[in-house]
Symmetry: D2
Subunit: 359 residues, 4 copies
């Protein structure tokens, strides 16, 4: 109930603080017999890890996975799989001055209000470093999905006012690792990089958007009432640090539209039920319909900026704050594997849940 | 796991189909000793019930609550509270022709794909009628919140292209029942009503938006990682039929902004920690900070329209469809109490969860 | 968390008080497509209902099931199945004098301590009447098990000092409904009936024991650590009113024995793995091994007796109590279908859980 | 759902195999602000660890705790607490010959049936080594209970046919660490040690019994229907390897008794509600009544014996087996801290759950 677990049948529990000895995750409910491709999972982590480019924080963490349980002779055994990542480059001293300070739009004050105590070093548990554990678990979820032909891919579709709204080709999707912002369009990518560089130059930060596409989903995944597939995806995404918005299919644009514009007509394509349009985003009545699932996620700008800001300390006294610590000026490029991980976790869970739907 | 329950400590389970004998809800975990104000709960139901105005479906359901358990001498006893609503005006014959048809953007096909069987009458379990049970439970949740000084109020802020973006006054908020669309601004309300009437005249439907405000929330509610307050709110809202998008605080606009614009500075107001702006929407790091929680929810247009549409039947044969059954041309006015109910359920749950946070 | 639900994938929530309008159960997670044999379920209820014989309470409840949701054209649809049983013969006036009294070994005092309020009429929620809802849900669980060849049968193996320790024949098991105590041995049954009659004549009550056998269970059911099959069975049984003990396989006798006496040797019988003895009771390492699952459950004597007893009232004042209300002098004959129901619920749940164990 | 978690609000998840790199536990939901007394927890582990005396397995594990998360400046922070114990003296080679063998009354066959794959080294996940993680978590639970004045103490009350049935004095209870079997009575302890030594000399093993007493429990803990306090205790105990039976209060003896003998009369003692006898074992209607909670747990003899046994291998071929590996001839002395841990976990969970019972 303390909220550090996610999923019902494919269930993960993450633990660890930014500047503690380690972060990690226990994955309970992964079916036995899955080939544990550690290199694939490590690759996802390396896509998330800091220090990748000039655009990201210079904290240097290799994020090497340590496998503690649940795998025997290369396959999952049905028992809990535990993955550990040691913290190596924690520079806690950077945070000494922040011990009693409430940084604007960080979780300092709210953690204190909730628990009466907080680990202030690097944000403690509220640090986005916790998402490395999600990415590791999400990597395993992706392996499970691949075995069922389901693929999850995300990309950056907005950095500040620079947006990319076209439908990317399959080839463009496969090329997102070729640029530092992970946008399928190289021209837009360059503009995004420039926007981030400019924000950084001003000691500022930028928000952004990520789109995630899930293909190969069989019709029938998702539970119809509270655990609608889009509801679980929304929760998954809003649980990521800095996320402020979520939409599926036509999303907010649908609110402006007419039914005659938004309805997706069914037809039969070589015996398979399809829809001619996909305003629904691959989900109807909370259940996948076999079309591509499509969501967009909005990230606010990183709260840590290199400008003077007014705030208060624990005693309520006004202070002026200047950032210390190492941070990304824009979080979305590194958030791409996080979004993929969360989407994969939701799908893996519902894939297993569907096994009990029919006698 | 079949998704008909919501909440952890304040936990509801809804049941029932649109054209079955009844719908209802079991509420487990409501603390003992709460005065059970049935009139208040009935009032919420009457705000959701069909047949309220010319803008809504003409299905005539009085939605009279029957209390089956959990209350003794006017107070909750700590045992499960069960509320039953009989279906009275189900006209199942209207749906006979739809037995084998997949209506565009309804859940007919996906239910069939999931379960291999479906109750086609009035959409069965996928009908928005299920939300009456949520409104009843949400009414009780509101009573619990009121005892802690927390208030939930929602209003329509968009119907098709007609939007209302101002910050409403307290007085305007209290007057939303005075117009059929539940918009705090009477001029905008009139334009919204006209838009709906026009869509209806064309046999079409319209999407819309609802904003929900939650006031009086103490700092400290919400769990910091997966069960962030905004994550549970997002799930709650996306679990409502026809919802396609959710944002909290600055939402999607934050994705376009800079950190220097979005950060909420702390200050002290008569000893209370406050923020000067509220781009965070009352939640930081997943935990309430004491400011007003503010979310916006996007609803797609109702799928049932009075126009000819192409689709297929169960056998995969192309058909042309003309709507039968009674439906709203725009769902958002009636969805206001549903949004309030879901928000109240999330807050009530986290209010109880917070009781275990500190030694 | 308030404890009115049981099971993970095949999950039930019961509600209702002894003297409220109704009791009932919502069953969530029953797979779609199961033939809903209402007569079978009603039969289980009639085996539990009061007024069956001179040995049981004379409260007269027909316990007619009302089906509110989840079944369409005779089959389950995958949506929640709700079963309602109206209370008809509640004679609440009998309990007026007990409003402020703590009856010995009843739940009067503990409910008051827990909730600060209680529905004193007929024990309120603590009444064994709640188990009728379990029997109804357990009947559905049995239907699911039957579809997999699993059978659950229980019988009385002890009433006071009269015990039956032989291994019953299949024929004897099928004949337990032929006597009022549900013991497979007619001679022992007669002695048990006499013991109950004698206790009743003295205004006293008697404890007893029930054995439950589960056959046709495939090897592999049960989760290996906390949700061992015997752990979930133990919880299921101890959750029944008046149960004070549980044992599986050799049980307490195993504590007195040597490993060389207790180990069950494996052998192969026509290609099927079997054990030559079954001291394990069909479960090893928390997981079924394909042998018959065998458990024994101890029930304390009914707390309500027709003798003068000392107690106190709510104010702490000493009082002398004489029983009112209608009660069984010995609960075990009527508890047989309750034990079967709880066992069936555990097995149905683990049958579904096993579907996710292997890739 | 895969069963590696226990508890609702105070919730633990254990992981790890007997011969993998490590075992461990994540504790989620421990309230913030609790002093983390690592020495106390380490002490509990040392009471469970192998190699304590001539009566126990000679596997040599120091079981040093590594704290990975959730504690800051000596206090819990409300975030997950992760405790790791490295496996150091695993001698996996001992098990090579058992790779394809189903040992009698072990979990070899059932794991294979369930998962189609198993880690055969030292029993893998089915090893009692997993319980070290429970003892660590239970130690923390005890610290939480101590803060509320609740104490848990267990002792051995049976080894084979040697039993100890007296009610121990407080002084005797505090002296159980003075003998190798953890029995409060030194004379009986000597007989128990002799019985174990004799069984060992014959290459055999012995079953036994443990009693657990929980004092200082406020009235009101436990949920009334499925999560009765005794139901959760029963599950907790039956989830321990080798446990075959559980009883609370008068237990199986109650099944033989009359109501007039078993009812516990209430009286008032200096304003506090008490019962004159405690056949209920401190729990009535599933809820604690303030008296000492008393349970007995039956353990079967250890399955590994140093005698020739018949069994089969994976291919179904008959084999003769001689034990390798290091094992206890009687498990109950080392199981005392395990029983205490599980009892503490149940009580800690219900202590937190009770916080939501009343408005």
């Amino acid at each position: 109930m303390a909220g550090n677990s996610f999923g019902q049948l494919f269930r993960i529990t993450t633990f660890g603080e930014s500047h503690g000895p380690a972060i990690g995750v226990v994955i309970d409910g992964c079916p036995a017999g899955l080939v544990f491709d550690q290199a694939f999972i490590q690759l996802q982590l390396s896509r998330r890890r800091p220090g990748q480019s000039a655009l990201t924080t210079q904290r240097d963490e290799s994020d090497q996975l340590e496998l503690l349980s649940g795998v025997f002779e290369g396959r999952t055994t049905g028992t809990p799989i535990t993955l550990l990542i040691r913290n190596k480059d924690a520079q806690s001293g950077d945070y000494d001055a922040l011990k009693d300070v409430y940084r604007p739009s960080h979780a300092d004050y709210t953690y204190e209000a909730k628990y009466g105590i907080r680990d202030h070093r690097g944000g403690g548990r509220s640090s986005a470093r916790e998402t490395a554990a999600r990415v590791a678990a999400g990597g395993l979820a992706q392996l499970l999905l691949h075995a069922s032909g389901i693929r999850v891919v995300a990309y950056v579709c907005g950095v500040g006012s620079v947006t990319y709204i076209d439908e990317p080709t399959q080839k463009a999707l496969l090329s997102i690792e070729n640029n530092a912002v992970r946008c399928p369009d190289t021209t837009t990518a360059a503009r995004m990089e420039a926007a981030i560089a400019e924000a950084k130059a001003h000691g500022d930060s930028l928000g952004g958007m990520i789109r995630v596409l899930i293909t190969g989903v069989p019709a029938g995944l998702g539970e119809p009432v509270f655990d609608k597939l889009e509801a679980d995806l929304a929760k998954a995404m809003l649980s990521i640090n800095a996320v402020k918005g979520f939409e599926v299919g036509a999303g907010f644009a649908a609110a402006m539209a007419k039914g005659s514009e938004m309805n997706d007509s069914f037809y039969t394509d070589s015996g398979r039920v399809r829809t001619r349009t996909n305003h629904s985003g691959g989900i109807q009545g909370g259940i996948s319909n076999g079309e591509t699932i499509s969501c967009r996620i909005a990230f606010k700008p990183v709260a840590t900026i290199q400008q003077k800001q007014n705030s208060i300390d624990k005693a309520g006294k006004s202070i002026t704050l200047e950032a210390k610590g190492r941070h990304d000026p824009c979080v979305v490029p590194r958030a791409v594997p996080i979004v993929e991980a969360m989407a994969a976790l939701v799908l893996a869970d519902h894939l297993l849940r569907q096994r009990s739907a029919i006698l």
